[in-house]
């Protein structure tokens, strides 16, 4: 099947070359970081995690969201998702690989990464996260590839793949829950110390992930002629709408609990992010954009006439993705470190090298997704 990825027109190859250029720049920056140290990033003693871990968090959500097409299709036999399910699975594969890469570039000693498996430490949530992510990657590669291979030969997929697919459903929930546990179980980081962190992670994932899926489907239709079907897109749009409502609802819960109880340590994180604390509010514009764009997109999605129009739907999906990316990929992680345990407010600004590595990993992911979907589209449109 792989040969189908190397059979494209000029635009296709131009796109591949473009991605390779960004990847090369990222690799160059990473080599610099390897030889000089993480001092080349904007992170420091107080804000000790930055964009890398934030991207990781966002992408675990994207990976988990595949369940939103897998579950209706395989468990409820919802036929309209027949064509889109493979896109979801391949999106999960690429997002998981990106997650692992983001963890890798964040490590001070990446050469020792195997220590996580050599000295398994069940009381560490990071150990569990590495374990469930690797498992999820394998589950999705196996199920996606096998089903697609069977389709190419025009036969039914083998029976053993069904249990694998069923297993991937609760597994998807587990990866994002364990990722939330990385943060939610730490004493003294009040922005994270909340029981709704895992539910919020899942809600935002099930909004942003299917929104990306809708966008990818539109791109595929335009570039390869592979159409996931109007009905599937409409159904996904409804899923995005509900998930986005739950996401904002849960965010509202955070605000109520913190501000009505009026406990300073519980308010500080949200104050810093949304209003500024002691005159410092580096992330305030970001968070406000996230709120406005997110709520605006939700309004569009709530109006059936707009939701079913491709143009409005595309804009709303972009809005939801941007909003949640800022919320999880910028605010949540950095906000957890401010104020510091000693109540100091230390800013964080990613450096050029850090941004270039981040783009590099995104480009690796998009390249991989391009190749996988090229194969999938070729198989699906072969007759």
């Amino acid at each position: 099947m792989i040969e189908k990825a190397f059979n494209g027109d000029r635009n296709y190859w131009g796109w591949i070359v473009f991605l390779l250029v960004i990847i090369s720049a990222g690799i160059y920056s990473y080599i610099n970081q390897l030889t000089t140290g993480l001092t080349l990033t904007g992170m420091g003693r107080d804000v000790s995690w930055g964009v890398y871990i934030a991207q990781f968090t966002f992408l675990v959500g994207v990976a988990a969201s595949a369940v939103m097409v897998v579950l209706p299709y395989y468990l409820h036999d919802y036929k309209a998702f027949g064509k889109i399910v493979i896109i979801g699975e391949f999106l999960a594969v690429t997002a998981t690989i990106m997650c692992l890469l983001f963890i890798l570039v964040d490590l001070g000693r990446p050469d020792r990464i195997l220590n996580v498996m050599l000295y398994p430490t069940p009381n560490s949530m990071l150990f569990w996260d590495a374990t469930v992510l690797t498992g999820y990657l394998l589950l999705n590669i196996v199920s996606g590839w096998t089903v697609l291979g069977a389709e190419r030969k025009g036969v039914q997929p083998p029976k053993w793949v069904k249990p694998v697919i069923y297993l991937s459903i609760p597994w998807a929930v587990s990866i994002h829950t364990v990722t939330a546990f990385l943060y939610a179980g730490l004493p003294g980081r009040h922005l994270w110390l909340t029981a709704v962190l895992a539910p919020r992670f899942l809600a935002s994932a099930f909004a942003a992930g299917p929104a990306i899926l809708i966008l990818v489907s539109f791109i595929l239709k335009k570039t390869t002629g592979f159409d996931a079907g109007k009905q599937a897109i409409n159904k996904l749009a409804v899923i995005v709408t509900y998930a986005a409502i739950i996401n904002f609802f849960l965010l509202g819960m955070e605000f109520f609990t913190a501000f009505y109880s009026n406990i300073p340590s519980h308010m500080h994180g949200l104050q810093y992010l949304f209003f500024g604390l002691h005159g410092k509010g580096q992330l305030v514009p970001w968070m406000r954009v996230s709120m406005i764009v997110g709520l605006g997109s939700l309004v569009v999605l709530l109006i059936p006439k707009l939701r079913t129009s491709s143009k409005w739907l595309i804009m709303a999906c972009i809005g939801i993705v941007v909003s949640i990316w800022i919320d999880k990929g910028v605010g949540l992680i950095i906000g957890g470190f401010v104020p510091s345990p000693l109540e100091e407010i230390v800013g964080y600004m990613p450096t050029l090298g850090e941004v270039s590595i981040t783009f590099g990993i995104w480009a690796i992911g998009i390249l991989l997704l391009t190749l996988l979907l090229k194969i999938a589209a070729a198989v699906k449109t072969q007759d």
Partner: protein
Amino acid sequence: MNENRREFIKKTGLGVLAGLGVASGIFPKSSFESAVASTTHEDSASGRRWGMVIDTRKCKDGCTKCIDACHEVHNVPDFDNIKDEIKWIWKSPYGNVFPGESAQFVSEETRERSYLALCNHCDNPPCVRACPTKATFKRDWDGIVAMDYHRCIGCRFCMAACPYGARSFNWRDPRPAIPKRSQAYPTRERGVVEKCNFCSERLAQGLQPACVAACPEGVLTFGDLNDPESEVRLLLEKNHTLQRRAELGTRPSVFYII
């Protein structure tokens, strides 16, 4: 649980399952977790538990003798920017060292003083719980929270987990920034975390920690918290003391007389 059985559980991978059980609260906390942190329970105090009492009333403003001694003995580099900064022991204002305690109308005298901050060698350390490689671990014979610099992968999960800001990361090669090389303790490499070790290398030689020995005012008292006759316990008996952020349940082994 005896050694053989512990080995057996590890080998069969049951340990992993057990961890899941502990995480979800199916099994009682006791047996399996003890392999990692066995003195987390007050009643299991069979060994020593090193601790410290800091009499902040005696601490002189502007004096940094204890800090200098510690950083010199342990080859702590001196970068002059807060991003790369590495510190094992330092001074901060009252509101920063005791964020929960800074209620209204704190006396001027209390506010103006500065307070020593260092790793608390918590009896129930969140950093140890978070570390995915056991590079940070609690020594079950004396309660010291120690580091294995050769195992640490530099994930900095422990830094996120420590509610006292006690940990520093080697963002760059520390060696060029060490003012005077000491032979008493190894230097570290780029990419690993480090923090106060309660001078375990000096304790092994029967010496007091470097900061305790360096203070001319007798501010710092070091000893075994599990020994009711020890000097630290007598001080705790006679004075009202604070632990930093005691409400978090980490059970710090460093106490403050305000």
